[in-house]
Amino acid sequence: MENFLQFNSVSYFYQTKDNEIQAVKDLTFSVNENQFASIVGPSGCGKTTILSLTAGLLTPSTGEILIGNEKVGKHDGKVGYMFQRDHLFEWRTIWQNITLGLEIQKKNKDPKKLARAEELLKKYDLYNFRNKKPRQLSGGMRQRVALIRTLMLEPQLLLLDEPFSALDFQTRLLVCDDVYDIIKREQKTALLVSHDISEALSMSDRIIVLSSRPACTKQVVDLSFEGKTPLLKREDKEFGRYFETIWRSLTNENQKTS
């Protein structure tokens, strides 16, 4: 489906004691179904606000956000969230962690859902660890558990808020590959925010470059690589060219403001 996620001139104001801050201004962009899109922008430009708006945790001041042609309202279960840290609950086993969402939505007796949980664990090499506590797992495995926990609620759209920034570089590259693989295999639409251009490049089909605050769309770059995985894409000859395009687009802005 074309334009699965749509932002139509969305603005958002934060209220603080001293003033009103416009975090997002007339933001318009779209992401197609099963596409992996990334938002890059200077730090503090309101990337996380955009994710919260998409998740329905914040309501736009003006404009509208559509997912599959339906307006995003509060609490309608369309999106899954992945954070900078995995936020696994230490007092729960891996199995209890991934079924957390089912438990909350009182679906944890549903044999179909439980079978799905088992299937995902087996598919992604975590089945043997289902009775372990999160602290017994490596950083990369924990991030995978967090992803499966999110997938369990069958979100139409995955939101990734710099989900790898807490990992060391080597793990990061590998987990990146891993998460990308899972998202593609499960055929999910994903929206990643990152300030790491190469990470965004290696994972995305589309990159949305934002201006500094208030965030609006500066440029949308559709990518096509011969390489298939994030790691292979990094070796692609196009990679450097794309990097430069996006870097230019970002730094133009910075020079203007400074």
Partner: protein, 281 residues
């Protein structure tokens, strides 16, 4: 297993198989650990024996006045006669009952109040100055009022105990509840958890380590409450015995009561510790 290690290229922090063949260096390391442990226990016992021995000798040769300082042998004799008299079980039982009741009431009530304050941000803001003042107020100052309100003896002591424990319980637990990671709450919200579910599945289990440390603090605090309560007004209990011994100038009795008190308090702390270890498993 190999398949799991492969995509990450990092060593997993756990081993599924226990190592059987140890190197010489490892054996040495284990031996050193054991020796260290033995040495620590030995020193602990040695210091106790040294202090008791010194105390006994100094009292025996009247370097210190045994009338005021008592001595281990006199304390043991005193405890033996207390046990022979039989009344000591009643005193210990009453103090223990007061402490345990005060401890449980303060912990439960404090936890309930902390939950309510977490639930309502407004209630939290409104109650803050009261909590601060109650926390800094020496609760013993309320002693005379307590006697008039609930009568002297057992109930006054329990109330004193509760007052001393409850404020710190509320403050520590509330702090643990409100310091829960915002992203974790966001995660729960993105799964459409209700506020009650957030409380039950995230806030409460997340605060368990803090809860255990509150329990440990409350063991000490509740004994303070009991002894203070018994000092102010009582006709039974170890605090009463200490006070009685003081007025009769029977310092052996005072020392004996203190020893029994520390055995009971130590025992209670030990139980809480056991609970903590259970929880960790």
């Amino acid at each position: 297993m190999a398949g799991i290690l492969k995509p990450f290229g990092e060593v997993l922090p756990m081993k599924t198989k226990k190592q059987v063949n140890f190197s010489q260096a490892h054996k040495k390391y284990i031996k050193r650990l054991k020796q260290e442990k033995i040495l620590v226990v030995f020193l602990q016992i040695f210091i106790l024996a040294l202090l008791l021995g010194l105390w006994e000798l100094l009292a025996h040769f009247e370097v210190i006045d045994p009338f005021f300082f008592s001595s281990p042998s006199r304390v043991i004799k005193c405890i033996a006669s207390l046990i022979a008299g039989g009344e000591i079980w009643m005193h210990m039982g009453i103090s223990l009952a007061e402490t345990v009741i005060g401890f449980i009431v303060a912990t439960l009530l404090g936890a309930i109040i902390a939950i309510l304050l977490w639930w309502s941000e407004r209630a939290r803001k409104v109650s803050q100055p009261y909590l601060v003042i109650l926390n800094s107020l020496p609760k013993i100052a309320l002693g005379p009022m307590i006697i008039f309100w609930v009568g002297s003896g057992f109930s006054a002591t329990v109330v004193m105990c509760v007052l001393i424990c409850i404020v710190i319980t509320i403050i520590s637990l509330l702090n643990a509840f409100t310091s829960c990671d915002q992203d974790k709450i966001l995660l729960m919200q993105s799964m459409h958890a209700s506020k009650f579910q957030i409380l039950r599945k995230l806030i409460l289990p997340n605060a368990i380590p803090e809860f255990v440390s509150v329990l440990k603090i409350n063991v000490g605090m509740s004994w303070v409450g009991t002894v203070m309560g018994e000092y102010i007004s009582s006709s039974a209990g170890l605090g009463y015995l200490i006070n009685y011994g003081k007025s009769m100038l029977n310092l052996d009795l005072v020392m004996a009561s203190i020893i029994l008190l520390s055995i009971l308090a130590g025992g209670m702390y030990f139980l809480v510790n056991l609970f903590e270890k259970r929880k960790q498993q």
